[in-house]
Subunit: 433 residues, 2 copies
């Protein structure tokens, strides 16, 4: 079946087909104001301008709420709830559809098209949500196993709790940045000579990335109010790609006994466009089969709550040469976002709209499917071969990491995420007298 | 020397003497709006009403900024910076001073006194700050040692990193609540029979408290911008008492390898009044001498950056009987808030105004100075004797924990924090079919 067409010229290989309609926050050089928008092909549709220009004239249900499109984050739109997200997304699809029901709204409305439909390259992207709290999970089974093998050997690779609950830790919300923001190599305490037990303050020597998904919440919950697993889907707004930059040498010294801290809080990059749960629904699948039967509060009863997203990681050197260093699928998770949310709230932890869940590093079983350099280089022991003869164990200054993700393979109907990219800047030279 | 007197009748044993002037957020039954206020004796001065009534007429420097007093959090007041906090606090002291320079402002202005000066008991207290990120440290040396002895014995009680850096973890901002909010016993995964390795979902059986200080930030920092130790004081707004409620059985099962999670995110209680750094300055002291020389970025060069605050913990049973179960001093910390902040930002982690640092549990060396029940009961092995013949190892439903803290012993000049209290409500009965 040929995919639905838009009257707008859309590259059939675009992440942002008519089937996607992801939401983000943009500004343009011409208009410094920050607005909500959707991505369509290589354009963005500024929803503030669209709403002001009567673009929602044929969708009366949204009219009392149109102020949400003039906000500088998507929190207020998210707060309208999943049924409203669906209606708005489907309406925008129909407005963009060739021979659709509403040609007057945009297709033949030249003034509004000119004002609201902007080439993507003219836009600056901003953090899409105001994030109160960020939690990073560890649900990538193959990643957890590979990392466990490095520290404890294959017999005890997974901790006893690992298959019983989605292991996670509270992350730092203030250092989440949007794709394109440079990441400065952190300084930190490092035990360079483990024999002396004397740390020094130095630039990280084992700078790493982690391939993850992020999921934003659209519903608040009160203190002491657990979310039951059957209802958890209602609380999910949409998904982004996430790079949990990690300083492995800082982590190794600091993390006992309370977990990672400065090794993780110097920057976390997310892709700018939030792909709504409804857009992902056609790609729903089951995750990794858990050979431990979940407790009832985590039991999804076989529901397809994971997604078939083809993920890849590209390392681009400062010379501009790109190498694909990882190819995997988002299916490689032992726990789903609904399970993470049910676990996170079972003791009463409250959520705010805009809170973010990270999946944990996603690795497949193959050599080419390892989602971080710690795994690929076996903590620095193995050289990773790049194009042009370069090699890496961890990241060099000037390296750019780009995560890509796309659902489906039908040209003209792809549901992709756009890039989640960041370049490594050299560490600050700290001086103390 | 006799302390300075106010024209207002102040109980000489009040935490809120003329020497204190702590800031908080209040509402009254008569006026549901939420405003900034200070505490003075058993009254609060509503600063919104005070400002509207020309109370700041003799302080021209604050006049362009008076809107901060009508906010529902202290973030905007904090943002004015420490020099302005000092000026406002000293002005309010002089307005309240007997035979002071500004009797017309409040003392003889009956209308404004009636409108702005409200008995404390008529006020409801609210969370004083909008908290973006919360970090809990572990700087109480005796606590860390006692806990380490329980799990690893006295030889290896402290981890190798412990004296080199302030160990900490990211906490959950959304579950921070103001004193008086009931705390519901969390349900969570518990390994009741360690032999089977099969967890169950059950109400926490080892519910604990942790005696801590919290410190709020008043200055934002950008990504990749370290705060140097000499400047860190400028970033500190003020201090509260903090109870880091902890579920020890949930913690024991979940915390490997990424640290505490659901065991800590079901509630963290803070006292409602923020005691400004200037009010604490006369009680500055040195902390515990560190026998490891700090790296230069943590070197305070002997600066008195800790505080002599007399701390106590009272357990009140549901029958209403109170027992003092801990008496100690806030001096018992190995790292200060400036050191925590210098460490937290050395890799580039950014801060927002309103972010909160927890000190870690504060225990002294004596038996009577242990700041949590895990230490006092040696993880449930020893019974803690209460008044009226009751005993505890951990908290019962209906128990109320009240933390108190006061600086100084000069009657009429105390600088105290008011109560940091919370009562344990029974766990929710969760049902799954
Ligand atoms: Ca991670
Ligand atoms: Ca604590
Ligand atoms: Mg937060
Ligand atoms: Mg936060
Ligand atoms: Ni009165």
């Amino acid at each position: 079946m040929a995919p639905l067409q838009s009257w707008l010229d859309i590259d059939p290989k675009s992440d942002f087909s008519l089937y996607n309609i992801p939401f983000g926050i943009v500004s343009t050089a011409a208009d410094q104001e920050i607005h909500t928008a959707i991505a369509i092909g290589d354009h963005v549709l500024d929803l503030h301008v669209f709403a002001q220009g009567n673009g929602f004239s044929a969708l009366s249900i949204i009219q009392p709420h149109q102020a949400v499109f003039s906000q500088s984050t998507l929190n207020d739109f998210a707060a309208l709830g999943r049924p409203m997200h669906r209606v708005v997304r489907e309406y925008l699809q129909s407005v963009l559809l060739k021979d659709g029901p509403f040609p007057d709204v945009l297709e033949t409305n030249k003034d509004l098209r000119t004002a609201a439909l902007i080439p993507h390259r003219q836009c600056q992207m901003h953090l899409p949500m105001r994030i109160g709290d960020y939690t990073d999970f560890y649900a990538g089974l193959h990643h957890a196993y590979n990392v466990g093998v490095l520290s404890r050997g294959p017999e005890n690779a997974l901790q006893p709790n690992y298959k019983h609950l989605p292991v996670g830790y509270h992350g730092r919300a203030s250092s989440i940045v949007v794709s394109g923001t440079p990441i400065r190599r952190p300084n930190g305490q490092i035990l360079s000579d483990p024999k002396t037990k004397e740390p020094l303050l130095a630039p990280c020597r084992k700078l790493d990335m982690e391939l993850e998904l992020g999921c934003f919440l659209c519903k608040p919950t009160a203190l002491s109010q657990p979310i039951c697993i059957q209802d958890a889907q209602d609380n999910l707004f949409g998904v982004v790609l996430l790079n949990d930059w990690s300083a492995r040498d800082i982590q190794a010294w600091e993390y006992v006994p309370l977990g990672p801290f400065n090794s993780k809080n110097f920057g976390t990059t997310i892709s700018p466009w939030i792909v709504l749960m409804d857009a992902l629904e056609p790609f729903a699948t089951v995750g990794i089969q858990n050979d431990v039967k979940p407790l009832p509060y985590l039991d999804e009863r076989g529901r397809k709550s994971h997604f078939e997203i083809d993920l890849s990681v590209i390392l681009t050197t400062s010379a501009g040469k790109s190498s694909k260093i990882c190819t995997t699928s988002a299916r490689n998770l032992l726990f789903s976002f609904p399970q993470m949310l049910a676990h996170h709230t079972v003791g009463g932890c409250p959520f705010n709209i805009g809170d973010l869940l990270g999946s944990g590093t996603i690795s497949g079983e193959d050599m080419s499917a390892k989602g971080c350099l710690l795994e690929q280089s076996e903590n620095g022991k193995i050289s990773i071969k790049l194009e042009d003869g370069e090699e890496r164990t961890f990241l060099n200054d000037g390296d750019t990491i780009t995560i890509k993700g796309v659902c489906g393979d039908q040209i003209g109907a792809l549901v992709g995420f756009g890039d989640c990219a960041g370049r490594i800047d050299p560490a600050l030279e700290l001086e103390y007298d």
